[in-house]
Amino acid sequence: MAEIVLDGVTKRFGDTLALDAVSMRVPDGAFVVLLGPTGAGKTTILRLVSGLDAPDAGTVLIDGQPMASVTPAERNLAMVFQQYSLYPHMSVRENLAFPLKSPRLKTPPDQIAAKIAAVAEVLQISHKLDNKATALSGGEMQRVSIGRALVRRPVAYLMDEPLSSLDAKLRTDLRVELKAIQAETGGTFLYVTHDQIEAMTMATHIGVLDQGRLVQFGSPREIYENPVSLYAASRLGQPRINILPAAVFGAHPAGAASIGLRPEQIVQGEGADSLVKRVERLGDQTRLHLSYRAHDIVTVTDAHTGLTAGDIVKIRPEKPYYFDADGARLA
C-alpha cells in the first residue's frame, strides 16, 4: 500500500475555484475520510488522485512519485463511485472476477474463486453471485461495485459515498466490515462522505473541507474535541452543536462573537433558567429542547428524566468554545 500526498493542489472549473491550494498527507495504511457538504471539493480531490482530472497547480504524489504524467490505469488505484457501474450483461460473479482477469495481474482461477467467495460474504451477496447484474436492487449493485474494488490489491482504495444508497442496517454492518478490511489488509483508504457517523467511526484521520479549502485535518477525536472553527465544530456531533451569541451567558473572552456548546458542555441544574419546550425520548438518551433567552438549545439528559414540557431547568456552560465574527476558534 502507499502514501498519498497533495502538495498545493488547485483546481478550477471555469470561474469556480473547486480546490484552493490543498496540501494533505494520507499516510500509508491510513483511513482518511474527507468530510464536507456538497460542493466542498471532496469528489474533486478523489478525481485528481485517481488521474481522472489533472490539477491546475500543485502536485499529487503517490509513494513519493509525482503523478502528473502517470495514467489512471498505471496508478493502480481501486475506485468505488456513488453511482455503481457494473457490466450489465455479466453475472455478479463475472463482475467481481473482471478486475482480477486483467492481463497485467494473471490471477490463477482458484485464487479468483476464493477471493470472490470471501468478498461476497463480507458484502452479504453470496446468494446473488449467479444473478445478472441487472437483476439486482440498487443496494445490491452498490455492494457489487464495492466488491469489485475489494477483490483487488491496489495501491490505495478511493471511495466516493459508497454506502449512501444502502439501508441503515446494511450501512452499519458495512461500516464495521470496511474498517475491519482496512485493519486486516493495512490498505490506504481515501473515502468521501457527508455522513458524520461514517467519518467518526471509520476514519483514522478526517479532512474537513469548506469551499475548496482544507480547514482541519486530524483524528476524529481531535476534530470533535478541538475544532479550529465554528464550521469544523458543526461537522461532527449529534445533536448538533448549539451556537449562540457570545454574551447570552454573561462574561466572554474579548473578540468572541459566538459561543459553541455541545450537549456535554451544558451543565444542568446550575446557572440560569431555561424553559423546556419539548422532551424527546430516544430510548438510550433523552433530548431536551430548551428555550434560553429566546434562543433554542438542544441538549441531552438522562433517558428517564422526569422533566416535561413547560418545566424550568437551570443550565450553565462548561468549558465552551468561543468563536470570533469570522467563525475562527478563540478558546
Partner: protein, 365 residues
C-alpha cells in the same frame, strides 16, 4: 379531531395473511407510529384505517362510528403520501387551495383558509410562487398545507420522509412534530425507521409478519420489549442477546451465565431450557471487578460516547461507554450489567419473561 379504534382487524390477500387479528386504540390528538420492517403489514393497516383497503374481518371505529366497510371518501381523512407530489403547473396558493374548491368552498373563504394554513407553516411569503423553484423543505410544507387545509379528522402519512437524506430528514421530522404540537391533530404515521418512531411518536405499534408485537409509549417499548424482535428492532446499536441454557425460577433475582452470577429484576415467570439474556449497549459497564468477561474486538468513536465491540463466551456484544474511557483492542475486560434494566427471553418463542420490572408495561398485553 378523532379517536381511532382498531378491533380484531384482519386482512387476507388470497391465502396470504397481511395483517393477523390486530387491536389497538389511537387517542384523539396523538402522534401515532406504525413501525416495522418492509412487508410487516403496517401500510396495509394504514390503508384499512383510511378505507383504501377493506378488512377481511374486524371493526374500525373513528370517533365511535364503525367505518370498517366504508370507502375512503366517507371517512374524512387526509392522506399525505409522497411529500413532493405537487401540481407542477400551479403556484403554491393554488396547490394548497385545490382541495377546498373541490369541496365547493367559496373563493373568499378559501383565501382566508389558505392564509391561515400558510401562517401555521411559515410559507406566507411564497404563496404566489410557482412550485417548480421551491426548495425540498418548502415543497414538503406545501404538500402538508394541502392536507391541513381541509381540517380532516386525522392525518395519515406513509413514510413521508423516506426519500430524504439524513440531515434534512432530521430537520423535517422536528418540524412535523412541532407542527403537531401546535395543531394537536390525530396523526398516524408509517415508518420503518425506529429512530424516527422514537423521536416523533406519542405511541408506537411495532409490527412483524402481520402481527402486532407490541403497542405502547416509545420509552416503555425501548425499556421493556415484549419480544426479542422488538428488542432487536428498536435501538441502535441493537439490544445484545446472550443465549444460554439454564433456569430462571419464579422469584429468582439472578441467573447463571457461565461462571458468573448475573443479577436480574425479580422474575414472575419460571422457565428452564434455552433462554436469552437481553441487555442494551448503554447498560454494560467496563468494570475490572466484574466476573463476566469479554475481549475487546473493536472500538468505534462517536464523540460523546464510543461503541465497544466485544467477544464473549455467549456471543458478540456491543457496549456504549463514555468517550473518555480508555479501551484497548485485544484487552480482556470485566462486564457489569445494570441489573434493573435486564430482560430475559424464552428462546423458544422469543417472548420476554415477566419480571417485577416489566410487568407494568407488559401486563396490558
Amino acid at each position: 379531531m378523532a379517536q381511532i379504534r382498531i378491533q380484531n382487524v384482519r386482512k387476507e390477500f388470497g391465502s396470504f395473511t397481511a395483517v393477523a387479528s390486530s387491536s389497538f386504540t389511537i387517542e384523539d390528538g396523538e402522534f401515532f407510529m406504525l413501525l416495522g420492517p418492509s412487508g410487516c403489514g403496517k401500510t396495509t393497516t394504514l390503508r384499512m384505517m383510511a378505507g383504501l383497503d377493506l378488512p377481511t374481518s374486524g371493526q374500525i371505529f373513528i370517533d365511535g362510528e364503525e367505518v370498517g366497510q366504508k370507502r375512503a371518501r366517507a371517512r374524512d381523512i387526509a392522506f399525505v403520501f409522497q411529500m413532493f407530489a405537487l401540481y407542477p403547473h400551479m403556484n403554491v396558493r393554488r396547490n394548497i387551495s385545490y382541495p377546498l374548491f373541490s369541496q365547493g368552498m367559496s373563493r373568499a373563504e378559501a383565501r382566508a383558509k389558505v392564509g391561515e394554513v400558510a401562517e401555521i407553516l411559515g410559507i406566507t411569503h411564497i404563496l404566489d410562487r410557482p412550485v417548480g423553484g421551491l426548495s425540498g423543505g418548502d415543497r414538503q410544507r406545501v404538500a402538508l398545507g394541502r392536507a391541513i387545509v381541509r381540517d380532516p379528522k386525522a392525518f395519515f402519512m406513509d413514510e413521508p420522509l423516506g426519500a430524504l437524506d439524513a440531515e434534512f430528514r432530521e430537520r423535517m421530522a422536528e418540524e412535523l412534530r412541532a407542527l403537531h404540537d401546535r395543531m394537536r391533530a390525530t396523526t398516524v404515521y408509517v415508518t420503518h425507521d425506529q429512530l424516527e418512531a422514537m423521536q416523533m411518536g406519542d405511541k408506537i405499534v411495532v409490527m412483524n409478519h402481520g402481527v402486532v408485537e407490541q403497542f405502547g409509549a416509545p420509552q416503555d417499548i425501548y425499556d421493556w420489549p415484549a419480544t426479542r424482535f422488538v428488542a432487536a428492532f428498536i435501538g441502535a446499536p441493537a439490544m445484545n442477546f446472550l443465549d444460554f441454557e439454564g433456569t430462571v425460577g419464579r422469584g429468582a433475582t439472578s441467573l447463571r451465565l457461565g461462571d458468573a452470577e448475573i443479577a436480574i429484576p425479580m422474575s414472575r415467570d419460571g422457565r428452564a431450557g434455552a433462554l436469552t439474556l437481553g441487555v442494551r449497549p448503554e447498560h454494560i459497564h467496563l468494570d475490572p471487578d466484574a466476573a463476566y468477561r469479554g475481549e475487546v474486538v473493536a472500538v468505534e468513536y462517536m464523540g460523546t460516547t464510543q461503541i465497544v465491540s466485544l467477544r464473549t463466551a455467549h456471543g458478540a456484544l456491543k457496549a456504549r461507554v463514555p468517550a473518555g474511557q480508555r479501551v484497548a483492542v485485544g484487552a480482556s475486560v470485566g462486564l457489569r450489567f445494570d441489573a434493573r434494566t435486564l430482560t430475559v427471553f424464552d428462546a423458544a418463542n422469543g417472548r420476554a419473561l415477566i419480571s417485577a420490572a416489566n410487568e407494568k408495561v407488559l401486563s396490558h398485553g
